[in-house]
């Protein structure tokens, strides 16, 4: 058996299913604008693809910036610490998204990144990325595009939080999750929240009780179905309408 395997290897290239070529979120991640035959170059960027369990940290605030992380699967939250010790969540991140972009500016991480569930990430040492730019200019363009999108997202979020009532904020949050998670699992409109009500509240500037209450209201209005962490969107149009 070991023998037959060896022979296979010689004849057929190793199908490394962890490679970008087989990644389920390839279309959303760095390789998106890279030609098929260049995808192995992206692969070589990757220093490791650790499997993390819930609660593992990718980096801490004030750590020296060394790598970006692409999420293959799972969920991550990033948060900062306010002076009085509380944590303030700045974002939730899912498969296909890139973490650490805000650290490029001053070469230091400004937030902590921790997994919310079993998660696989691809570690991309930034100096590899910088050197590969000379080979494939598309990669730099892609990173620039992703950063721009993150700015865009943050600013939408700013608009939302500043001017919306609690129910709208929750609706907006769920809709954002819908858009991002649905890109990946082609599932209909059912998904599982990887974070607690308290974390949602922290992120949205609401108390956990208010999050819970407003999710109940959304249910009473026939917009969503809630069963613990499981969310089913019953009326996506109405949900989107709330996000104005």
């Amino acid at each position: 058996m070991a023998l037959s395997k060896k022979i296979d290897h010689r004849v057929v290239p190793i199908k490394d299913f962890s490679s970008c070529a087989y990644c389920s979120v390839r279309q959303l991640c760095l390789p998106v604008s890279v030609a098929k035959k260049e995808i192995n170059i992206i692969d070589e960027l990757v220093a490791s693809r650790p499997l993390l369990k819930k609660g593992d940290y990718l980096f801490h605030s004030a750590d020296k910036f060394q790598s970006l992380f692409a999420i293959k699967s799972g969920a991550i939250k990033t948060y900062g610490n306010t002076r009085d010790g509380r944590e303030q969540i700045t974002g939730f991140h899912f498969a296909g998204e890139l973490i650490g972009l805000d650290a490029i500016g001053n070469n230091t991480h400004n937030c902590n990144a921790v997994t919310l569930e079993k998660t696989v990430v691809c570690e991309l040492p930034y100096k590899n990325i910088e050197s590969i730019n000379l080979l494939i200019p598309g990669v730099q363009r892609e990173i620039t595009r992703l950063m721009s999108l993150e700015i865009h997202n943050d600013e939408e979020m700013l608009m939302a939080i500043g001017s919306m009532r609690a129910e709208q904020r929750v609706a907006c949050f769920l809709f954002s999750l819908y858009r991002r998670l649905m890109l990946r699992n082609k599932q209909k409109s059912i998904f599982r929240l990887p974070m607690t009500r308290e974390e949602i509240g922290n992120y949205l500037g609401l108390s956990l009780e208010t999050v819970s209450r407003r999710m109940s209201s959304l249910h009473e209005e026939g917009i969503i179905e809630v069963e613990n962490r499981l969310i089913k969107l019953e009326n996506i149009d109405k949900l989107q309408a709330l996000c104005s």
Copy 2:
């Protein structure tokens, strides 16, 4: 054209005071990491340096993205329109800052940019920037850095707005202005707000009355002096402390 320019340079270099070489915010803008003799390359990026009066627009939401704008002097606000027609301000921008970065992602502006006072900007067509990357890699690195900083800023803002009481938000806002404006005018801790209380409130998610009231409280606590648009910081440490 290129020829005559070259000759001019040989005889007596034209002192074009609008050039980057003489710009008062050179240290904060794109040229920061560019060698002296390469600064004219940056200059050639610039398509125009219009003098705008209060209320002029740089671009509107949904416009095709064509140029970034570097602010030489003045102040600009960017805002989006919510579905119900209100405007939501996403940022204020001052000399040395770069506008339009959030449009790179999908080649379309997502917000409107309008001047708050007399303003001079340098228009940087993005295709010029992309082509110049091949000549001076430092420019791309600088843009990446600026984008990263903008992400960082937005996320700090998100933290602030989500979890802070009104007085803290106002304090935080003033402190951010202090840091950014003081980099430019070496003046002590006095500056003029280019925006109305209503615009501050809109940005911070507060009513204009609350902004006014909380600025009065900050005055009563001996932290600031207010005279219409003129702000004097009396106790910067206390102010910073409020921003936790």
